[in-house]
């Protein structure tokens, strides 16, 4: 998965304070490892990463989220909108998402079949 466009994604020095968002490709399956937090200062990086998911379709696209410390409503909304834009058989697999992310998805997008949550 050595796509040059999918190397390290981060806000780095652009963000003076608070937490950063780190996004990098997974090595053993198609998808991204996401660490840090998705909030207003990191929305752009998050949405850009999601755009590339749509541009490079696979049957399943994994998000390893065990190091995601926080995601706000706009961040979850962007994820849900990405899932909605997928073609029939495609899906997003969320691995170890923070409980709040699962809660928000259940609350607002209970019928979104293109997102699967892997709890292992």
């Amino acid at each position: 998965m050595n796509d040059p466009h999918e190397r390290k994604e981060g806000v780095g020095e652009a963000m003076p304070r608070g937490e950063r968002l780190h996004i990098c490709p997974l090595t053993d399956r198609v998808g991204l490892e996401v660490a840090g937090e998705v909030s207003l200062p990191t929305h752009m990086a998050w949405e850009q990463a999601l755009e590339r998911v749509v541009q490079r379709p696979h049957d399943s696209y994994h998000f390893e989220l065990s190091a995601l410390t926080f995601i706000d409503m706009a961040g979850v909304t962007a994820l849900a909108m990405t899932a909605r834009s997928l073609n029939g058989g495609q899906r997003l697999v969320l691995e170890s998402p923070p409980p709040a992310l699962s809660r928000v998805l259940e609350m607002f997008w209970p019928d979104l079949s293109a997102i699967e949550v892997a709890t292992t």
Partner: protein, 347 residues
């Protein structure tokens, strides 16, 4: 009666009842009349009254949607979008008939302002709709001030079988009168934030809430609510805001204020279902208190700091329904309350 109410298809009477007999007399024929006319009929009232109506309707109860208002309406801010509008919108064909009892003896003093506003906003939310909503009021157990408010929120009052036009009907004035800022202890410090410090202020608020006794299980919900309020300040306000966190009785309260005034919006806008999640607009956003550590936070319009033990049990038993933040426009003042969060700190 004004020319407008003569042509207004929406009908919104209050029923002042004294005892079960008057309750049945005021509600059951009303429902049967609707069924006879082929109307869609629903009842959302507290459990004991629901049982009473169900018993009186007999076999016809199956034709009526029956809801326990203490559950579906525990957050007054959700009654219009999730109960009344949800039912009315699902039956677009003919007239829809609903009994809604959102105010009962036992609603806390802190919930009550949102209940009154709910009653007032019904008039705006259903304007022009072929809908009848009858609101029973327990004239024996409710305070006189509550009954006085019902005169302001209902164009018609039914009492002892007589229908009277309310001379005191003034829903917009009621909404404004009950739109009051929160009162915090004088020594609570205020923390300012801008876009850059949103994560910091969220960590600060969550840390304070933990110190003040909010259980671990609620902290993620709390953090999410804080993020939404503070982000709103920055994105839709003037780029900054100030936050305070304090303890009030058995609840943790977090308030976010934004300098400047919001543009005027229809107060009813707050009770419409958003087109999609996240379309909150400028708001007061209140997350509820609950003593339960195991259920999602039931959203409420106002702090329920004096939640009774019975109330807590009801909350715990409540369905794990999706709980959106309660949203209503802030008052037009030199500052605007971006919102507040109230969470019960007891497990």
């Amino acid at each position: 009666m004004s020319a407008m109410t003569e042509t207004e298809p929406f009908v919104h009477p209050a029923l002042f009842y004294r005892g079960e007999q008057e309750y049945v007399a005021g509600t059951v024929p009303f429902l049967q009349e609707g069924l006879d006319a082929g109307e869609a009929v629903a009842v959302a009232v507290p459990r004991a009254n629901l049982d009473l109506i169900r018993g009186e309707l007999g076999a016809r109860a199956a034709q009526v949607k029956l809801l326990d208002m203490t559950q579906v309406g525990r957050n007054p801010g959700r009654i219009i979008p999730r109960v009344l509008r949800a039912f009315a919108d699902a039956h677009p064909g003919g007239r829809v008939r609903i009994i809604g009892e959102p105010i009962w003896a036992g609603r806390s003093a802190t919930e009550y302002p949102a209940c009154v506003q709910h009653e007032a906003l019904i008039n705006l939310a259903f304007q022009g709709r072929a809908v009848t909503i009858l609101c029973p009021y327990d004239a024996v157990r409710l305070e006189q001030t509550v009954l006085d408010d019902a005169y302001a929120t209902h164009p018609t009052i039914i009492e002892a079988g007589a229908h009277d036009t309310s001379a005191a009907y003034a829903p917009e004035a009621v909404i404004s009168r009950y739109n009051q800022p929160l009162t915090a202890p004088a020594d609570v410090p205020q923390t300012s934030y801008t876009a850059d410090s949103l994560p910091d202020v969220r960590h600060f608020a969550t840390g304070r809430a933990a110190e003040l006794g909010l259980p671990e299980s609620r902290l993620q919900d709390f953090a999410l609510a804080v993020a939404e309020l503070t982000t709103n300040s920055v994105v839709h306000g003037r780029g900054s805001g100030a936050l305070r966190v304090w303890r009030q009785d058995d609840a943790v309260v977090c308030e976010c204020v934004t300098p400047g005034c919001w543009p005027t919006r229809s107060p009813a806008a707050a009770r419409r279902r958003p087109a999609r999640a996240g379309d909150g607009g400028c708001c007061w956003c209140t997350w509820s208190p609950t003593s339960s550590a195991s259920t999602p936070p039931p959203a409420r319009a106002r702090p329920s700091t004096a939640t009774s033990a019975a109330d807590r049990r009801r909350i715990r038993r409540g369905p794990p329904a999706p709980d959106a933040a309660y949203v209503r426009p802030g008052p037009a003042q030199p500052w605007t309350s971006e919102g507040s969060i109230h969470m019960n700190s007891q497990v």
